[in-house]
Symmetry: none
Subunit: 214 residues, 4 copies
């Protein structure tokens, strides 16, 4: 499932460079950026160590290069598939169903690209060069999308009168929490019931845990 393939955009990116990127994502996600050795990346990519530096000026450069695949992996499908399919098409479906599908879609995307996401998220906590473009380019796009969704339902009267941004934050928070928790303690979750788990989470998000709610 975590096939980790960045190959969707083979466009003009050379085969070897792709193999190096894939290898780097694997190794980084297992050892962390600083804990990774270019020698191991090279071996993993079936490439001579020197070849890495034909495609990337420095080791750090490999890390920064992960932003492109991340963006492509998320923005494009998220904007297209999720936005169109779920938001537009589904504007008549019940809000529970729409939200569940949205979260499930995001989640599948995250899980499929877990090593990439894990690496970028964690390393952005230590490397300004990585955090800045995320804050300035990636985050705004995601926020805009979610805010739009939230606003639509708020206007329809589906949601309580919280601040839009607060709802967006809460949705992201829950998602993030679930991802981190289930990735750190997978045995804490029943692996094959993700669908059911998400369904429950969405239910909580929508109706709360308190008895006597709807």
């Amino acid at each position: 499932m975590t096939d980790n393939n960045i190959r969707e955009f083979d466009d003009e990116i050379p085969e070897k460079k792709l193999k190096i990127l894939e290898a780097a994502i694997k190794v980084f996600s297992e050892k962390g950026f600083e804990g990774s050795r270019t020698s191991e990346i090279a071996k993993e990519a079936n490439v001579a160590e020197g070849t890495i530096f034909k495609y990337f000026k420095t080791k750090k450069d490999i890390l920064l290069s992960l932003l492109l695949p991340l963006t492509l992996k998320f923005i494009k499908p998220f904007a297209m598939k999720s936005a169109e399919k779920i938001l537009n098409k589904g504007k008549d479906e019940p809000v529970d169903e729409v939200l569940k599908n949205l979260l499930l879609d995001i989640l599948h995307l995250v899980k499929k690209n877990m090593p990439l996401v894990k690496t970028v998220v964690i390393e952005s906590l230590y490397h300004e060069e990585l955090l800045v473009p995320i804050k300035e380019k990636l985050a705004p796009q995601v926020l805009e999308l979610l805010d739009g969704y939230v606003n639509y339902h708020k206007e329809k009267g589906d949601f309580k009168d919280y601040d839009t941004r607060f709802i967006t934050r809460t949705i992201m928070s829950m998602l993030l929490g679930y991802v981190v928790l289930s990735s750190a303690f997978p045995e804490f979750f029943s692996l094959d019931e993700e669908e059911k788990e998400i369904e429950n989470i969405v239910n909580v998000l929508i109706n709360g845990i308190k008895n006597g709610g709807v």
Copy 2:
């Protein structure tokens, strides 16, 4: 607020060792474990580099030593203060209030020890030696506590009929998500309204975002 002091247990731990631990927490949290230099820790601790190795066999040993302060910092107050004060004392207060106080307490604890928590959480993703004791010792204690709390309210009929563990997971998830998100994107939150934010989060957790819920 994040004074990061481990000194509460000065018991027999030598002053220099404490200074080294504090320095390590600071440096690790800023650079990550692998990205940190023992030289920098030494400078930060106002100690000669060699002194570090009088108290810790290896650099990794410093990391593993963080488990003790983490446990002391969390289990003790969490078990004592939270458990007693909030759970026992509050068994008559409305559930919203109790949950809010519980979360707020945990959150304050986390925020106060953010560098320590950040380091242990992240590094446990890369170091088995760190993850194992967390899974085997820390997590069970936290779970037991939360499960007890959840069960109490479930039995009182306060909560919907979800699986206990699911509720526990969801509470932790939300907490974790909030912590990670607000720590990675602090400007995304209004710094001085943490209390209000938590209150809202608890409200969502309890009543959901859907209009027409209670």
Copy 3:
């Protein structure tokens, strides 16, 4: 003026090889042999890096190959032009004039081929393979020529009774000193008065700086 062209002997030498040699002379003279990269030579020569190794077995081989152009550049014209034109033709002119013309000719030759000369001179200080042929082939030819010239004038009674070799050495010394100094500190000299400078140098060489001499 420093056109650096080795093309005079295009005889059978392929165009690409010439371009590589020219490029090497340029790059070597700017960065030194060890400080030069074959990649830069290739770029400068508008040639693929691999092409270099079609014409030269190794990088060092390029350096050694500079001896041929150097010899051609110097021995041929020096022996022909200088020897014939200046020495033979001028045996009746006053010694000052003859010496001045000789030095000027050599100097022009050196300046015109400065990058080549600089490279060979300096690198011969580090590479036996380069020094040996110079000592065994180039130097003797130059010495023989100069010695002949000096002897001619000594016999004519033009020169004081110094050892022939000493006079030769002194002439070369002055020339070399002037070349090195004016190339390291060009702003120390007035660029456009080279002719006048040489004239003065020759005057000193012939008459000394002491007042009361001729």
Copy 4:
């Protein structure tokens, strides 16, 4: 004779750093800066390779650090000994004698520090960072000294009416030429007659080679 010792200024410079500098001078002078390996310098200095980088940030830093010993080696003794002893004390001796002593002194200094001088002179042709401080600090001091000497004798009527700077240049040129030539082709000179050679050179400089001069 080329003892190459920089130890005169042991002042506060650590023993190991001195050994590294001495080793670097030796290796640089034999292989050139770019052709030298830090591993060889370390071995020559009887020091671990890592130790080099405790005292010098980079390999290039070692090269630049040679300016200090060079300055100390030359400016101090040159200014003190030469200036005082030769210039002041000798203002009544015949000009030949004074100039000869001056050149001999400089020459001895150069020969004694040949590896250092060779390295700095040659590498300054390739590294701006080395050339600039020489041009701006070292050269002016030397020039001022020589100019002073020349002016003194010009005013006394000892020298012909050449431009002061020209005479300075010519003296330096001859010296430099002699040093380079005798160092590149030592067998071209009779090693043990340096004193005599210099005497002759000074005679030429003063009286020229032309017969009938004084």
